[in-house]
């Protein structure tokens, strides 16, 4: 997304990109979430989206609170989802979780102090041939079957995040 001056303009740009139609609601909310920089939908953004789509804020919140890819509280710049469905769980997803805890110094659902990372256990996102797999924002990484690979990935993301 290009830098935009106001939240109004940003919402208008996203809605124009997809079209102001109800079937584009989730695509619009996902883009608005990306644009927040902290992977979440604020109350203000939800109100603006409601106006733009001529829907009630309650309907926006119905979607924002139902779907597991959408968050209504600030998360972090990098939202790490560790697949914990059976093809990954039994292919060392616990190693991924343990390494993230050790390297980031946080438990599941806790943001790191620098606001860069947060991780959750997630359900299958179709990367079973790359198990254990991780999804960070919209990118899938795997197999992350060693602590070294996980540390290298975090290092790369930190470099990018601090730019």
């Amino acid at each position: 997304m290009k830098a935009v001056c106001t939240k109004n303009e940003m919402v208008a740009a996203v809605v124009e990109k997809h079209g102001a139609k109800k079937d584009k609601l989730l695509a619009i909310l996902l883009d608005l979430q990306d644009a927040s920089g902290q992977n979440y939908l604020s109350e203000e953004i939800c109100s603006l989206a409601a106006e733009a789509l001529k829907m009630s804020p309650a309907k926006i919140y119905e979607a924002a609170t139902f779907y597991s890819m959408l968050f209504t509280e600030p998360q972090a710049k990098y939202l790490i989802e560790v697949c914990s469905s059976t093809p990954c769980y039994f292919n060392k997803s616990k190693l991924v979780v343990d390494t993230l805890e050790a390297e980031l110094g946080v438990k599941e659902g806790e943001q790191t102090a620098d606001g860069l990372f947060i991780f959750y256990l997630a359900q299958c996102f179709g990367a079973c041939d790359q198990s254990p797999a991780v999804k960070i924002n919209h990118e899938v990484y795997g197999p992350l079957d060693s602590a070294e690979k996980i540390k290298a990935l975090l290092y790369e993301l930190r470099q990018r995040g601090e730019q």
Partner: protein, 425 residues
Amino acid sequence: MRIEAPVLLKKVDIMHDCTSVADYKGCGGFVGFHKALHSGQSAVLDELELAELRGRGGAAIQAHLKWRQLYEMEIFPKYIVCNADEGESGTFKDKILLRDNPLSVIEGMLIAGYVFGAKHGYIYIRGEYRKIQDSFQIALDNAKAAGYLGEKIQGIEGFDYDISIVSGSGAYVCGENSALLNSIEARAGRPRLKIQRLAQVGLFKKPTLVNNVESFACIPVIMEYGGAAFKEMGTSKGGGTKLVCLSGHAKNKGVYEINLGTPLNDLLYSEKFGGGTASGRPIKFVHFGGQSGPIGFEPALNFYYSYEGLWDNGLAMGSGAIVVMDESVSVVEYCREVMRFFVHESCGKCTPCRLGTTRALELLERFAACEAQEGDIERLEQILINIRNLSQCGLGQSADTAVMSAIKGARHEFEACISKKGGQV
């Protein structure tokens, strides 16, 4: 002479740019569509019946039954919807079609649009495949530019049809067709009470066809080669080839296209497919068809991989997922993780599903910690039966399948977890 796989994925290695209509047509793309136009709507339905294509999403219903039902509806507009919400664990084959052969899916949806006189089609792609949504949109734009979508398709007056992408956002339950339609309508993706079928009351309360990605990709193949040839690619209870997904402890994880009727032993052990386990340990059990599918145990996995081959052995194909587990895995722990999935994904509408899966998980956690009590196996079975019988949609109705099949095939592992100490439940 039977046509051998690959058929659905055959063009993938030939096309330079899979979103290019020229590349797609260069290896036979849109031949099926032109044949459909030439032979007429009713003939397409006849070919579909000869083909015996079973829905590739997991329900395995004969596609021609759904199509004929919608064809006979006298209400318009009719909608064509592609279920690309691929959410069953161990399933990643629709991803390959969407990413590497998008025009085959578009061609299938186009043929459906022609048969039903639909003006609009929707493809609901899961939010986790966001990047693939972008490349699929390019394929749609190219198809439109080449006159295969939009107004006056191929110069035919009145044949106006377009396809939009709708994004999912992380809800397995939206793979259930009526929940998916609710999601397109900007509602929470909870299933509907289906007093009438979706062919009668579907999207925006209009008659709707919902089929899986792979099912749509089969349609141009059926029209190109003919229904009888498609049937011959398969077996007595279902025609065609099938995309299967090998994962878990399989050595050679990936998507493979096979003729239905391929021996399961080949899929599991041949170097051409799974190649045994990555660890070298023996295969202990296989979870078929996704979280909602059944578990089969070695050494009883010596049969042909086909609809009837699986059914005759008390199993089912489901999505085509084949999750291999070696001897290091406790069946009880595996079942616990399966139930954890259902607790997370239950939409919450039906109390027996919402609470039942939670209680089943608690029981399975007790088993996994070797703290189960006498009678807990029976308690677990009763909860699972209640979830199945009292839930409104396929999620709850199949939440019991894996665990029940595990208890049937490995009851001794559950019994070994029953605490010998006394005490209250």
